[in-house]
Point group: C2
Chain length 508, copies 2
Amino acid sequence: MLKGWTKMEEKMRDLKQRLSEIHDLEMANAVLGWDQLTYMPPGGAEARGRQMATLARLAQEKMTDPGLGKLIEELLPYADSLPEDHDDAALIRVAKRDFDRLTKIPPQLIARVYEHQSRCYMAWTEARPNNDFEKVRPLLEQTLEYSREVANCFPGYEHIADPLIDWADYGMKAKNLRVLFDQLRQELVPLVQAITSYPPSDDSCLRQHFPEKDQIAFGEQVIRALGYDFQRGRQDKSPHPFTTRFGYGDVRITTRVKENDFGEAFFSTVHEAGHAMYEQGCNPAFDGTPLFGGTSAGVHESQSRLWENVVARSREFWEYYYPLLQKTFPGQLGNVTLDTFYRAINKVQPSLVRTDADEVTYNLHVMIRFDLELQMLEGSLEVKHLPEAWNERYRSDLGVVPPDDRDGCLQDVHWYGGFIGGQFQGYTLGNILSALFYHHAVLEIPSIPEEIRQGKFENLHGWLKEHIYQHGRKYTAPDLIRRVTGRDLDIQPYIAYLKRKYGELYSL
Amino acid sequence: MLKGWTKMEEKMRDLKQRLSEIHDLEMANAVLGWDQLTYMPPGGAEARGRQMATLARLAQEKMTDPGLGKLIEELLPYADSLPEDHDDAALIRVAKRDFDRLTKIPPQLIARVYEHQSRCYMAWTEARPNNDFEKVRPLLEQTLEYSREVANCFPGYEHIADPLIDWADYGMKAKNLRVLFDQLRQELVPLVQAITSYPPSDDSCLRQHFPEKDQIAFGEQVIRALGYDFQRGRQDKSPHPFTTRFGYGDVRITTRVKENDFGEAFFSTVHEAGHAMYEQGCNPAFDGTPLFGGTSAGVHESQSRLWENVVARSREFWEYYYPLLQKTFPGQLGNVTLDTFYRAINKVQPSLVRTDADEVTYNLHVMIRFDLELQMLEGSLEVKHLPEAWNERYRSDLGVVPPDDRDGCLQDVHWYGGFIGGQFQGYTLGNILSALFYHHAVLEIPSIPEEIRQGKFENLHGWLKEHIYQHGRKYTAPDLIRRVTGRDLDIQPYIAYLKRKYGELYSL
């Protein structure tokens, strides 16, 4: 008995050693990726692509090593023998899930898919500015074929999108998401109609000249207060904002600044800091293992959206910060009232581009994409008809029609650099969860809104750390939601949040 | 015949593939190292150490793979069958040299040595500020043991330091270096004595307040003119200046700025740009192979010193640049004459610290270290007597006595983070070679000094690229020197350079 146990401990050490080596390769590659997007000189591009491909291949080889698979299989009974909640049991199960996912796809197919995705991405970078959907259409058709072929490596699914959704939001299914998104749409469409029956808010106060240096300093002052730890992170500039991490002690964010638009840098800084605080708050014992990180795309997005929207677009937040912002930009905002500013940052207006969308209409953009990718996968929508289908949905759902494909079906990189399927649901899940988690935080700590009004975030940050951040990937998203809320995913708190906030703003 | 040749071509492709993978791992690790010293937040240190160790271990495994050794052996006859000057022949021979060097040391010994060196380095970082040689003495004694043990993995040497010297300056031997350095010392000592019989130059003009931003802009303007390509590089700040490269298209430098000392950032920027131009000028076809890079520590240092000293401390250079510098710093230098400035940047004064030493006394510092490491390896100097031996040599060679070990035998990291042996000769070889190469450049293109006076560097840069940079590691340093000069290493041009320059400065 003791002997068998000791043997399992040895295997466990062996597993952690293997996983830690894979993790190191992935984190090293993340450093190369960060540098590529922040400081790398133009001449570095070619070699960098090769170096990153080499690290990815070495990690892939180690992740799919049959020896690792055997070890995991041998450890499964040990996982079952441990208490349900034991970290090692979670580690073994997560390792098995990752291993199965990677090894069920033939290596030759993976290689072909990566090569194709890289080619398709390059074509998209030219096709979008030239508004030339036809140029990428044949490649996108191939992407659809590959997406089906990869999904079919996971037989037994209910919907062909399910294996692809699993990669980003494990445990979510097309069927349930459709039900959820339909409920949401039924609530959102009348809300948007009610709001847009009023003239849109005047947000010209945000479109003045705000010097970059001051914008960055103000944003960093805010996220430091929210709980982002600059001892274990930093912010740099990049063409598109992102969060990346190289370990528990090094979780970085980037931003981009528009000097004629205050919202651009500020809300992206808070958004990325939300992602980053999630990773910074993970149990440090998980560092170097696959338990480190966020449990799903949806839960990750919930943390960015909670801080960006629920907190940093709230009236309470600006009751504290607006006087400080006015001090930073006295010429620009000295004569702008808090109410005008608050309305400006919460302006609702149906628009063409997802990433520019406001909090209310944003989900309509997401659900259009979600539906279209399911239709393409099902075969009820051919790629060649995507532009018309896209435009028709924008007309019916948002009341706007893209004048071209550049700001239509070519606007997002996702399908052109990855698969068709599983790409977008996480954004709306994130919005739903942001309000759901905040709702439960306030149920437990009712003083949170008042604390926000005083520029204090320790209790909210602490609650998120305890209930969400620290667990990393230990619990799947559905399990985590049940642990936090006592039930399955529920959209009502999100609906209530939107109705309360925008009902008050527009006296609906 | 054709079949055998095709087979060799296949093996050659296989070799390049293996070497390229190793190269990618090394370059990736260099990116991690650059980030560690420039932008990494404090919290990132622990994981970064682990990640870099993992990449180094994976590279090491691949570098010592018996399959690689077999492949190289099989390719040796092919190398011999190729023209002497063929790139593939050079690649095979360099790969063999690298492979032999690594595989002759038992892996367990390498692991023990790395671990020890890392421990010794950590102890040194505390011992130096505390002036506590005794704290690192036992570790340094172990370093000496390991240095001997590693040298003894290469039997057949003439002097026990030779295998260690080979790592940095392949083909150089303790015996020849001693002869060379003795000749040099015989010339330098009377020169220093003659100079120091005059009062030292007044360099107070350099010790004014020079704002960081302007210093960096001026330095970057200069190195861009010298030929450093910012499309394939960049400059950042770090605690100690260094050059690193991640490929032909990405060779970076760092600097540090002292606002109360103009020379600090400026000359280090030019120095590092010299190293970097060497790598930027390598044949791009060598990228991703062990032929990429510099051929030896001495030749590398010659390129930094040529630009830093021979060019950027020359009167010609400042005839062009001093008016521009005065425009940048009118308050500080507007009333300082070119002659005063020129004397200030060429002030000669025996001092305690190598890295602060002027061009003339610098080599005396190096030769003290070189002699002491040979004595320790030979067993004629015990580590416990190093402080006295060090101080005695400073007294006799430079006429100064360190008040403590901090600025005595604890000042350089080399022995405390590496081996004893082979650590210092490259610095003086670099000085000798800087004047030797410049001498030959001017023999071929006599207009170079006049071009420098006009701020034009294309011909000098082009000559260096053609004769030195492009060859990377294709030729060993002794071969390269013979190719460039038609004979073996000769110290006379360096002596002549110093005598002419300082003879004129001090009317000797």
